[in-house]
Symmetry: C2
Subunit: 117 residues, 2 copies
């Protein structure tokens, strides 16, 4: 009781039954990328040679709880690996999952038909 589900809900009050799995999968991934803070977090991680540890709050400029929440959303689609190294929790990209996502987006874009108008 009193528990609030603070995770990002994909569809609000929409009719979930009419969409197929590929629609939902792409939409969930896109939702993670739909906030500039999360894009910035992923891009920052991607530029480091190693895992990033606890400098995201200073880099992004949001509060620690907010960064923590955004990291949680990113983790939900599995693209982040995190391990404690000393007293810092260090994140980096999960290569396999990332490439999976890349394929999903790329196929979506490639399949669009341009022979029109």
């Amino acid at each position: 009781m009193g528990f609030r589900n603070r995770s990002i809900q994909l569809m609000g009050a929409s009719k979930t039954h009419i969409y197929n799995q590929s629609h939902i999968t792409l939409a969930m991934a896109a939702k993670v990328l739909s906030h500039p803070a999360r894009v910035a977090i992923l891009q920052y991680i991607s530029k480091q040679d190693n895992c990033i540890c606890n400098d995201l709050v200073d880099i992004i400029g949001l509060s620690q709880p907010t960064i923590s929440q955004h990291l949680n959303e990113i983790k939900k689609i599995g693209v982040l690996k995190g391990d404690y190294q000393g007293k810092n929790l260090c994140y980096c990209i999960d290569k396999g999952k990332w490439e999976e996502l890349q394929v999903i987006f790329n196929e979506f874009f490639v399949k669009i038909n341009h022979n029109c108008c």
Copy 2:
């Protein structure tokens, strides 16, 4: 409770926080794709040989005002062209804008560093 000292803003300690344009552009595009109805709409259009005209309500299964709203969101990033043909407003993908988006997403995915963990 280990708070970090960031409540005092020193002069010259400029906050690098502001999202850059590439973060915002990607996030805006991702937001459009972050609802399965919009993914389904785009995918349906992509499968047609010509523009699609006024059958989206039946195909997607949402009300006409809701479909209209979703189309508006998609149009905001410029990937839809619409023209009246007879009494129907017919939509199709704007090829140039679509390929632009494809590049933005692809570059984002490609630039991720995997040499870690």
